[in-house]
Symmetry: C2
Subunit: 765 residues, 2 copies
Amino acid sequence: GINDDVTHTSLDFDPAFDIESDDIVRAMFWGLGSDGTVGANKNSIKIIGEETPFYAQGYFVYDSKKAGARTISHLRFGSNPIHSTYLIHRANFVAVHQFVFLERYNVLDNAANGATFLLNSPYGPDEVWDQIPRPVQEQIIEKNLKLYVIDAAAVAKETGMGARINTIMQTCFFAISGVLPQDEAIAQIKHAIQKTYGKRGEAVVRKNYAAVDSALAHLHEISVPDQATGSIQKPPPVPAAAPEFVQAVTAKMIAGDGDMLPVSALPADGTYPTGTTQWEKRNIGLEVPVWETDLCIQCGKCVMVCPHAVIRSKVVEESALEGAPAGFLTMDAKWRELKGQKYTLQVAVEDCTGCTLCVEVCPAVDRQNPERKAINMHPQLPLREEGRQNWDFFLNLPEIDRVDTLKFTNVKNSQLLEPLFEFSGACPGCGETPYISLVTRLFGDHAIVANATGCSSIYGGNLPTTPWSQNKDGRGPAWSNSLFEDNAEFGLGMRLTIDKQSIYVRELVDRLRGEIGDDLADSLLSADQSTEAGIIAQRERVVALKDKLVNAATPAEKDLLSLADMLVKKSVWIIGGDGWAYDIGYGGLDHVLASGRNVNVLVLDTEVYSNTGGQSSKATPLGAVAKFAASGKPNDKKDLGMMAMSYGTVYVAQIAMGASDSQTMKAILEAEAYDGPSLIIAYSHCIAHGYDMAQGMNQQKLATQSGYWPLYRFNPEWRAQGKKPLKLDSKAPKIPLEDYMYNENRFRMLTKSNPERAKKLLADA
Amino acid sequence: GINDDVTHTSLDFDPAFDIESDDIVRAMFWGLGSDGTVGANKNSIKIIGEETPFYAQGYFVYDSKKAGARTISHLRFGSNPIHSTYLIHRANFVAVHQFVFLERYNVLDNAANGATFLLNSPYGPDEVWDQIPRPVQEQIIEKNLKLYVIDAAAVAKETGMGARINTIMQTCFFAISGVLPQDEAIAQIKHAIQKTYGKRGEAVVRKNYAAVDSALAHLHEISVPDQATGSIQKPPPVPAAAPEFVQAVTAKMIAGDGDMLPVSALPADGTYPTGTTQWEKRNIGLEVPVWETDLCIQCGKCVMVCPHAVIRSKVVEESALEGAPAGFLTMDAKWRELKGQKYTLQVAVEDCTGCTLCVEVCPAVDRQNPERKAINMHPQLPLREEGRQNWDFFLNLPEIDRVDTLKFTNVKNSQLLEPLFEFSGACPGCGETPYISLVTRLFGDHAIVANATGCSSIYGGNLPTTPWSQNKDGRGPAWSNSLFEDNAEFGLGMRLTIDKQSIYVRELVDRLRGEIGDDLADSLLSADQSTEAGIIAQRERVVALKDKLVNAATPAEKDLLSLADMLVKKSVWIIGGDGWAYDIGYGGLDHVLASGRNVNVLVLDTEVYSNTGGQSSKATPLGAVAKFAASGKPNDKKDLGMMAMSYGTVYVAQIAMGASDSQTMKAILEAEAYDGPSLIIAYSHCIAHGYDMAQGMNQQKLATQSGYWPLYRFNPEWRAQGKKPLKLDSKAPKIPLEDYMYNENRFRMLTKSNPERAKKLLADA
Ligand SMILES: Cc1ncc(C[n+]2csc(CCOP(=O)(O)OP(=O)(O)O)c2C)c(N)n1
Ligand SMILES: Cc1ncc(C[n+]2csc(CCOP(=O)(O)OP(=O)(O)O)c2C)c(N)n1
Ligand code: SF4
Ligand code: SF4
Ligand code: SF4
Ligand code: SF4
């Protein structure tokens, strides 16, 4: 039910109203994004629906976070056909597959009186009760729940199932839910295992059987005390330091209660505050990097590649370090210009996804022990508390002065710039986000972003939180997503609007120069904003201008006051994936590139439609297996860069951060500086490519070294200067194409399913 | 009112119902597409609405024919505000600006009793009555009309107004309609002339004044006899030979009575018969070409360029000429292979638009008299009757055998092929249609066409008639128009459907080979249809197949019978303008080109959105003045060909028939033969370019000679054969760009409005 307290058009309803008959088994399962809960539940439905006389129904609730998000499965079983609305409100079975959820979500709110509660717990039957937060204890007692626990992770490990707890939890469900008599239930599970794994051999089947048996052996009913005794309280969903809106609205959504928010709580114009991912500590990294000051050369590569902007560095005066937590590490800064200052590298351990990319790119290796680098992965839990304190202290250290210290044109220096895109919900190790972070480091405080639908719109702007953030002055990218297909036009509209408004505001400055004063008017109108210093100076002039207009009374004065910020340069970014740029939004992209307008297009090229599960796009390379290209894409990747270059008036670059972070930097800086349309095609590794994302940056390097992904920049300005407009930034292929391609499952798949064709396509490529 | 006699949902209405007050002047004006009637009426509204206390209203009815179509203006004037529905049903003033309309339309059906009837007549006051068709006479008498005539053409000529009769007819309207007292009316017209032409100098104003005065002097009231005496009858709108549907439906629309057709008269599935322009003799060419057998070299160039497929040639045995009309000219055929046969070149004088393109391209000049060529323009009227007879005889002569006579790979031979696109309503001298005609000569009987919205969809398929036609066997292109933006996808859908159906029908042939017989089945399945002979042979096999299936009973047999025609090769053509291909449909076009499917894309590149009046597209060249590019297009023409070539798998050609008709032939043949997507970009001169269309083909030549429009062909097959895939077919520029550009007003305009910028842009170009 919607609670429309604004237009009052919603109907009242009784949340307790329920006409479901009691002989239906209503089961709710709380799982984590990729822990297999949803899959196991679908399998249960299949077993019961197909192999028994019972009827089954299932609904699955999950958001679009790429990893580490909660899933809730709502399953119904019964001996009569099920005619029911979607979600369960009175469950007679609740399973919580992740113990931490007890602290985060109200997992028992929908448990019916006398229901069965199955809990996956790292704590044994004897200690578990005390580890359950007190409010949950109270609910268990009040609702007369039957409590069962199992340490599924331990069982999985012991029976050789690795981290996969799904079969174990499914077994427990069958054992205690009463859908089927226990014996029959177990027989059915084993039958299903035989069906699924039979062709993989007897050993696999036996391993799974063992897991089932062991699950039953380790499942314990806990006798519930009469009174809640626990000392653990549920922490608030967001820290007390979070701003009001986050407390009032975002927190509710984070806690899973967004549906309860009244309409009035939502911003009327759809504008949401940015920088909200920082309040959603997900703690999904099992291991996080730990810094070794004896080895670090301060190159900044780890900072640059982190997909989640979780590892950061600052250089500060020693004095700023006063009051630092005990374990807060620093070392002398290795910059001529910053001599005598201190360098520190910190990790937001609660936001780190444990993807390992940073460690992989770290070039500083211990000669004594080549396994040890200047950063190394260590288990997160023991580091959490100390990490949190260090991070908080780190955040409060001053940011680098952007004008008077360094030139931010290389990786080493740019690591010190604050990213305004952080802690996104992208997949751990995502290849897209490092480019976005970098853009925000460089231009974030005057950027405006049009984002195509795709992964980047999901991790970029899906409720409850957004990674697009702000600096201390409250400046940061303005961001919006319109559609998949119209993003280029959407961004062009932003540019046209800004241009129109600047023309008008400049006209006003000129018209009102009597009041403003000639000096200020002239300097406002002639400002050179090609550098950061120029922009900052202009911002100061705008402040002065606004001061003069405090008593604005005439329409012209009021217009000038309201538009004054348009005197400051804005950087327009049009961002999207290859599905957008090569396929569905290409007509518009082409039109925008032809328009001659000053926009910067960043194509995050994963070579497939990643967000919807890896469908083939025109960017998919020859021979790669993708959805709709199951036997390998039969034709070549479209040469988007060449098409754009054919205009002669478009800045075009092809980049791959893992192949050359310095070329990436150059291209992004040049694209932004070019007074016309720019197109940057950025190689982005992706889980759809089928290999461990920790190798993402290494694969990028191989892609370039094998000639698969040449790096280049095409700058129309160079032609105007009498130079060749096209610079090839990578060398002739020095490794065979296979060395790149066959590391990735998308290419390898065909060698298995159709080796003949694979060979032919490799030769064509 | 709609007469819905199918679902009976329309309401009955009384056509005579009328609540208009009698003190409103209700005037109807019948004019011809470009004779200035609509403009003059808009001007009258302005005069009366702005300069007098009266109120005015105007509605204008015209179709989308490019030239030679009827316009009807409905004007109301009165001393009270006018609240009225659109069209006039009881006019108290009717003006007919074209005498021929008396024969064609029911111009007086809406005249009220006692109304005034103004007629522009080439006949003087004494003879005019007898020239009026009898039914019109009867209406004049019955309705007590006051009849006025004027020979506006003569007055225009005499007063130096050339062919422009609009001011003269407007004067007559003001003089006799009674909207204003005559003196005041004349004063107002002169005032308006002063305002409009004042700045062009006293002489122009005086000339217009003279026309006004002369109009009044030559306006005669005719005293109407008591009885109709005329001998002239109104001919039927279409000849009696026309097929039933044309008689029953098309003819009504041609006569302007389409609104009266009951719903049941229209095809339920929207399929209309093709080849219907032949029944709509428009007679709009004032002059038509006349053939001189002493000079003709039978090159066929005139046949190839005619935008309306009006001038045609055949080669026949002498015996076939028996019974030819007296003036039917022939000469010995100049083909080695057709020795002893007769060549004839004929013009459909009633369909010729008088554009002169044919004469311009004719290379055969009389040495004695260089003004005289093998074809020359002569007034149409005296040639009409004889021409009609010759044409009818010509049509009945046998068509050339497409298999056993000649190879139709050059212009000279291909002129003998029957076009299946004829007498279109395109502008006289259109640069688009010759390409379409040629395609239909070559592949028309197995072509299927997806047409983008644009000029080509308007002259191609707007009711009442369509130029897409059929050969004697009833075979011709199947044609449809979906939208402006989705045409490439629309055509791809046709291809996919055909491919799917062929796969299925081939499967059926194989499955049913028992019934069909192995021989027939094998030959059906292995047929080589790369040549016309192959296609014809396959058609014969399909006939044999259908014979075997007369008693089809099983579902498979029935399917095979219904799909048997899909065993014959189909040629898919995707046709549209540059606005479609470069701009609004480009996203889809790109996708289709990337699809690898066997479709042929023909881009009729007029370098502007022609159909909507000449807006700038991405095909518009640098410096050209167009709508939305009033100060000259600031950037270069998009290189669509290059973009398509970047795939490496698309056949791409850039052609210009006027520059090289043989290269045009080659490209079209190769494109069709290529088993993959083909893109042909065809330079199409257009009235939007601002020069006399008679020079269209000459301008095409200059475009190529100046290097503005290079001719090339890119064939992926050549690469497979180890050759270079790209052939440049035109030579290095041999004339300066200005020699081409400044013949066209679109380029010249800027030299007048902004010579500095023009110079700069020319240098850039
Ligand atoms: C018109 C339209 N079609 C389909 C979708 C569904 N959709 C959303 S995101 C997406 C894939 C985006 O792929 P890509 O542009 O390559 O970006 P990526 O996810 O790889 O970053 C699709 C197909 C949509 N939103 N709109
Ligand atoms: C989506 C859409 N936008 C606009 C129109 C209006 N429209 C009809 S034809 C046309 C111009 C076609 O130009 P072009 O493709 O160059 O063909 P040409 O008329 O020059 O042959 C336009 C804008 C339309 N039909 N559909
Ligand atoms: S492990 Fe991944 S998410 Fe964590 S700091 Fe390193 S790069 Fe960032
Ligand atoms: S990549 Fe390694 S050496 Fe470089 S800054 Fe990071 S930790 Fe230090
Ligand atoms: S004048 Fe024009 S329409 Fe007439 S025959 Fe010649 S080319 Fe065709
Ligand atoms: S172009 Fe001239 S010479 Fe050639 S066929 Fe036509 S009339 Fe004859």
